[in-house]
């Protein structure tokens, strides 16, 4: 039985004449946390957008749950709805916190929206802000709202683009707990982009290192952090400048 949620083969994304993302091969097991690391401009966010089916790859194929998506067309809505993504700077809509959290459920025509929103807000510790306008919440709270909004419809895959980049340590811990809980309790597969090596050590089941648009190394955390094959990965995890 193949337990990989994603299998990427020969994926390439080109803007103009510049290849911004290249992944020769990558498999992401179900219910695991894959952490993608690398400096800014390495192609990590582009890779997430490809995996979220927000844009098509220029070449190669993304095999999601055994089905190949390589023809440049967006997959059917039912497939797209199994994956969600939280941006580094999430976009919120006019209205209250609870209205924002309810968006995904309303798109799916779900019932008991109010009850589920209330439970989810409790889970992320934001019950007291249910009626608050989005414009009035702090950055940390907003990031938790974004994660609640993504988790409320039980996605199979949660793609997180530097979700703790602008947060204080307390909120970082809260967000990491939410991610770990999603994986442990619901079996959600998480792909997390971060530049924080310590965060990667805390959360990852598998780590990938990207540089200049290319996924250059993938491995288990122990291997990557203690004895990575590529010297550029070794330099990055030691906190050295990587070019």
């Amino acid at each position: 039985m193949n337990c990989a949620v994603y299998r990427l083969e020969g994926i390439s994304k080109v803007y103009g004449t510049r290849e911004v993302c290249h992944v020769e091969r990558l498999e992401i097991p179900r219910g695991s946390v894959m952490v993608l690391m690398g400096p800014s401009g390495a192609g990590k966010s582009t890779l997430l957008r490809l995996m979220a089916f927000l844009e098509p790859a220029t070449s190669g194929q993304i095999i999601f749950e055994g089905h190949s998506h390589s023809d440049g067309k967006a997959p059917p809505l039912e497939v797209r709805r199994r994956v969600t993504m939280v941006f580094q700077t999430p976009i919120f809509f006019k209205g209250t916190v609870e209205q924002n959290v309810a968006y995904g459920l309303r798109f799916r025509g779900e019932l008991n929206v109010r009850t589920r929103v209330r439970k989810m807000l409790e889970a992320v510790g934001l019950s007291q802000l249910a009626k608050a306008k989005m414009a009035s919440v702090s950055t940390g709270e907003a990031q938790r709202v974004a994660i609640a909004r993504a988790l409320i419809f039980d996605p199979e895959v949660l793609l997180l683009d530097e979700p703790t980049a602008n947060l204080d340590p307390q909120n970082v811990v809260l967000v990491e707990e939410l991610v770990a809980k999603a994986v442990n309790d619901r079996g959600t597969t998480v792909v997390l982009v971060t530049q924080n090596v310590f965060q990667a050590k805390r959360l990852a089941h598998q780590v990938g290192f990207m540089l200049d648009g290319v996924l250059i190394e993938v491995g288990l955390p122990d291997g990557i952090f203690a004895d990575s094959v590529d010297q550029r990965t070794r330099a990055f995890v030691r906190g050295e400048m990587v070019y």
Binding site: R49, A52, L54, L77, R80, R81, V83, T84, M85, V86, F87, P90, I91, F93, K94, Y103, G104, F107, R108, R149, A150, F153
Partner: protein, 218 residues
């Protein structure tokens, strides 16, 4: 017909003609504005240039075109619409359509592309994402409707040409103001002018209220 009945008839006809024209131009202009706001295609800039040109088209020229279209020897002369409210509606649709389209397009473009991506990641279908973007851009769309209505309720040249300003039949507020002024009936002209301004103001307030925004909102 006494003067108050006459004024009531003029007001109702003005609202009827401009309201119908707004309804038609919105039904066509809003979807096209949304489409232009979202889509990128080869001749997009050319289409936008045409629409912007339409926004600046002098109403009298539109009146002339509609007149030529509907006159007895014109291509649509067989309709028999000239000097009827239908001709006035047609002229006003042509005047307000580019305004509503352009303002809607600008409102949709003002909502960043990331909003659409965010909606898609939350599982929105293309239609749901489009409607949600439209909802985010609703203030801009409201401005489009107000601007479109303002441009036609206050317009005089085109409706005068194609309607003929026939008392009790095609006379609307603007053409009645012109006629009253020409006849030296300044009091009546001022009353009609105040009614016209009041209609514009009340319609704007009503639209803002329809958008669910308190008028006292800061």
């Amino acid at each position: 017909m006494d003067s108050s009945t006459q004024i009531t008839h003029i007001v109702l006809l003005s609202l009827g003609v401009s309201g119908t024209a707004l309804l038609i131009s919105s039904a066509v202009g809003i979807p096209i504005g949304v489409w232009l706001g979202f889509r990128r295609f080869v001749a997009r800039r050319l289409v936008i240039a045409f629409i912007y040109t339409g926004m600046g088209f002098p109403p009298v020229v539109i009146g002339l075109l509609v007149y030529l279209l509907l006159s007895r020897d014109g291509p649509l002369g067989w309709l028999g619409w000239l000097y009827t409210p239908k001709a006035m509606v047609l002229a006003q649709v042509i005047i307000s359509f580019p305004i509503i389209t352009a303002f809607t397009m600008a409102a949709v473009m003002g909502v960043t592309g990331n909003v659409r991506l965010q909606l898609l990641t939350l599982g929105a279908s293309r239609l749901q994402a489009t409607l949600a973007v439209l909802s985010e851009a609703r203030i801009g769309v409201l401005v489009a409707l107000i601007a479109g209505f303002g441009s036609i309720i206050s317009e005089v040249g085109a409706v005068m040409m194609v309607g003929g300003n026939l008392k009790g039949s095609t006379q609307v507020l603007t053409t009645a103001v012109v006629q009253s002024t020409r006849m030296g009936l300044f009091e009546q002209a001022i009353v009609l002018g105040i009614i016209l301004l009041t209609i514009s103001f009340v319609v704007s307030l009503a639209w803002i209220a329809l958008q669910g925004r308190s008028l006292l909102e800061k």
